[in-house]
Amino acid sequence: MAKYNLRINGAARTVESADPNQPLLYALRGLGLTATKFGCGLGQCGACTVLVERKALRSCQMTIASVQGKSITTLEGLGSALNPHPLQWAFIKEQVPQCGYCTSGMLMSAAALLSEKKKPSEAEIRTALDGNLCRCGSHARVVRAVLAASGQGV
């Protein structure tokens, strides 16, 4: 079993894996960080999006070997129930999720967008989230929440 050292949500973590090609997604969920969801395993739906060094990436497409030494942020590290990230707060206030299975990935993609651009336009938000699919149809609320979180109330 090879050992991989990562920084996850600010803490040093060691993951053991017999397979260097094990996707980061399974390592995270194996550590009990289950906010990150398996959706397709193909990088098509965005449910497993996490921040790798502040970039929104699909954890089903990143091998554990490729993230050795990297800093990973999952939804659990974005904010907490007592101290939610502005995006989490806005998603709660707008009552965004229905089933909510896509919500974690949406929040991580939106967080990456807001760290690059403080006040994105609605069109920029839609483009940034195009790789995150939602089947329940919460799109309108997601867009409203991201606008609200960036101080652009609607």
Binding site: E76, F91, I92, P97, C99, G100, R135, H139
Partner: protein
């Protein structure tokens, strides 16, 4: 679209705690044990005729609500407590909510058909009203006063004139009501409602945004193993042989083979995935699927057809007046997938003498017998517990995954989690069936419908079939139900407008190429697409504005009000379709549709504005307007959320979704081959809710879906003069229709 949230009810604290409502997920261990023995003394009462099946008053003054209907993200976890708390004059923060557990909750039927509130919620309202009456009577005895001199407030029964009251807990905690639901128990006057009708926040939302919500996908048990099931390359193929040495190099992997059921089991999920990919197996030939290119035409001549005259109203006008115009048209809605964002998953712990299954099924109770039978266990030794999964819109693969987990757990003697792959979900989830409709009609110059005949070709639901055959038991040769279940897919095949003569004839098909199941608003999106598109075609033939045409034929005042409201919302300009700019490179148009769901439930009027790019054939739905009347609204934000979701999901189904298959299997097995609507394609939606507090509440999850297809097709016709009659409206189909070819 939403009113700004100002009320103090929406304090930061309340929102984060989801209105401070406690949602009880009866998982394992002590808590469940306490509930199973009955929080109000003795074993749980599960008979849905009994108050105790639904409610228990706890010693600390809280009330536990036991609900057989489940929350799939549609908001029952707040709506049901709102209904109960209202009748009991307590806050929703005093409610514990338990859902979909065969050991704890009464069987209220599947969470389907948009009837969660309108049936399940009304049972709860009756239980709460009966309980309130009983509490007042108990207090009257204790205080030695007349019941009519007592009132209920804040969890107490107290004298109307003032003075000390007695708490619910002191009156009954630890004991049962031992009462049947009383339809005559007085209900609270809707004019005095303080909770029903308010947009209270959903209790599961904070956890879903923080990442702590427990989905069935996240549930674990000590010693739990991970499995993947290997389905055959061709539907119906038998397993010839398995080469177990092909997974020998993967530590701890077990192969489970039971007849044609094949699974791999490992200690961690990734190893199970690798084993499923590596395992070499030989399969026989499958049971040939029809050729997709010839599928639609073959429906009309299917030798299994039995005909049924479903609707006959009025008498034919003979002869038709000279100015009558006669039209015929065919509409087709293809097989579609639930396309749940997360593939199905379940956990099962099957022992020699008992079994517990954690499942995202919309029908834990409805599957209880099925699971007991294929496991060969008595029903009281089998427990199905609902845990939320990825959104499900009828019956996706959740129940199959639960059966898979149960079969594998029994084989290995340990708790097992089964997670389907993306290809499993798209390939093997039960499909919304294909629907073919022919409509013939005649209209006179005044816009009067003289004649209307709908012929529909749809698969028949097997009599008495409430569930669907499950893949695992079938492959493993275990006891399995046989037949089809498609939901009530023949409804709304006739127009809601006056006509001299209306006929609906169903040509029932005995089978469907891929296993069918109800998919959100079963059948109605297709039937209303055809009926409301044809209505538009008649309006155009009569040279009338589409709204004017509908209003001339509509008598129901609630329907008329909605059509007028949607016209006002979108500043509808009265004129016949198509509009004047139909040859523009980017042609814009507006269309509408009207649906009275199942002819007796929710009313919807929907308008759409679309832009059609002539060169590419791409349709952009720019705005959707929806006027909606579902009677008494329990939670307006929940209703809005359901309407937004229903519209967005159905725009996706109409524009891009069709299951593709070759002669052996489904070929649209990922998001590239089965695309759904993206953010840049999702429409802006404006909703106008009509609340009727004194009317019964009706469903809000399905009705809006059924209005989408026609509103969209009618807007495209208005924009371009081209009529789209085959779903999905792909750019290729649009281009063909613009070029004058029939779609």
């Amino acid at each position: 679209m939403n009113a700004p949230i100002k009320s103090s009810r929406f304090s930061r604290r309340a929102l984060l705690k989801g209105g401070a409502l406690t949602v009880g997920f009866a998982l394992t261990g002590g808590r469940t044990g306490a509930f199973a023995q009955g929080v109000a003394g003795g074993p749980r009462v599960l008979d849905p005729k009994e108050v105790d099946a639904f409610l228990a008053i706890n010693g600390n003054g809280t009330v536990t609500v036991f609900c057989g209907k489940v929350d799939l993200g549609q908001g029952l976890r707040i709506a049901m407590p709102q209904i109960v708390a209202e009748e009991l004059y307590i806050g929703v923060d005093k409610i514990n909510f338990i859902e979909g557990d065969t050991a704890l909750t009464p069987d209220q039927g599947r969470t389907s058909g948009s009837n969660g509130i309108q049936r399940g919620g009304m049972q709860l309202r009756q239980a709460a009203a009966t309980a309130r009456k009983a509490l007042i009577e108990l207090a009257a005895q204790k205080l030695n006063v007349k019941a009519e001199d007592l009132i209920v407030a804040n969890g107490l029964v107290r004298p109307r004139a003032g003075g000390d009251g007695i708490s619910f807990a002191d009156l009954i905690s630890g004991r049962r009501f031992d009462l049947k639901l009383d339809p005559k128990a007085p209900r609270k006057d809707p004019a005095t409602y303080t909770l029903v009708g308010k947009p209270l926040p959903r209790p599961d939302v904070p956890a879903k945004c923080i990442g702590s919500h427990m989905y069935v996908h996240d549930f674990t048990l000590p010693g739990m193993l991970h499995a993947r099931v290997i389905r055959p390359p061709a539907i119906g193929a038998k397993l010839a042989s398995v080469d177990e040495s092909s997974v020998k190099n993967l530590a701890g992997v077990q192969v489970v083979r039971i007849k044609d059921f094949l699974a791999v089991v490992a200690e961690d999920e990734w190893t199970a995935v690798r084993a499923a990919r590596a395992l070499k197996a030989k399969w026989g030939a499958g049971s040939r699927l029809p050729e997709q290119a010839k599928f639609v035409q073959a429906l009309r001549t299917d030798p299994s057809i039995t005909n049924q005259d479903l609707v006959t109203k009025g008498a034919p006008v003979t002869p038709l007046p000279q100015n009558a115009k006669m039209l015929t048209a065919s509409y087709f809605w293809p097989m579609q997938s639930h396309a749940s964002l997360g593939p199905s998953c379940a956990v099962a712990d099957v022992r020699a003498e008992s079994a517990t299954v954690w499942t995202a099924s919309q029908g834990t109770h409805g599957n209880h017998t099925t699971f007991a039978r294929f496991l060969g266990l008595p029903k009281d030794k089998v427990r199905l517990i609902y845990l939320e999964g990825s959104g499900c819109y009828g019956m996706n693969g959740h129940e199959d995954a639960a059966a898979d987990a149960a079969i594998v757990s029994r084989a290995v003697g340990k708790p097992v989690r089964v997670q389907w792959s993306r290809a499993d979900e798209h390939g093997w989830d039960p499909k919304g069936p294909a629907q073919l409709l022919d409509i013939a009609g005649a209209v006179d110059a005044d816009g009067r419908i003289l004649d209307w005949r709908t012929d529909m070709w749809i698969p028949r639901t097997t009599r008495g079939m409430l569930n669907i055959p499950l893949l695992g038991p079938e492959a493993a040769g275990l006891d399995n139900i046989v037949g089809l279940n498609t939901g009530l897919i023949s409804q709304n095949g006739d127009p809601p407008y006056a006509a001299d003569h209306i006929q609906v004839i169903v040509h029932w098909l005995k089978d469907a190429p891929l296993r069918p199941a109800p998919l959100r608003s079963p059948g109605k999106p297709a039937n209303c697409f055809a009926v409301e598109s044809f209505t538009d075609e008649l309006a155009a033939a009569a040279g009338l504005d589409p709204i004017e045409f509908r209003l001339r034929g509509l008598k129901n005042p609630r329907g008329i009000e909605l059509i007028k409201r949607v016209a006002a919302m979108m500043k509808w300009q009265s004129r016949p379709s198509p509009g004047a700019n139909k040859n523009a490179a980017l042609a814009r148009g507006r269309g509408m549709s009207y649906v009275h769901y199942k002819h007796e439930e929710t009313f919807v009027a929907m308008g759409m504005e679309v832009a059609v790019e002539r060169a590419s054939g791409k349709i952009k739905v720019e705005r959707v307007f929806c006027a909606h009347d579902c009677g008494q609204i329990i939670n307006p934000d929940g209703v809005r959320s359901q309407i937004e979701g229903g519209i967005t999901q159905t725009v996706s189904r109409v524009l891009m979704e069709e299951v593709k298959f070759d002669r052996s299997h489904v070929t649209s097995v990922d998001w590239a081959s089965y695309p759904i609507l993206k953010f840049s394609e999702a429409p802006k939606i404006d909703i106008d809710l009509v609340d009727r507090p004194t009317e019964p509440p009706l469903g809000a999850g399905e009705a809006s879906c059924s209005a989408v297809g026609a509103a969209l097709a009618n807007a495209v016709f208005d924009a371009t003069g081209a009529r789209l009659r085959t779903i999905p409206f792909t750019p290729e189909r649009v281009k063909a229709a613009l070029g004058g070819h029939s779609s």
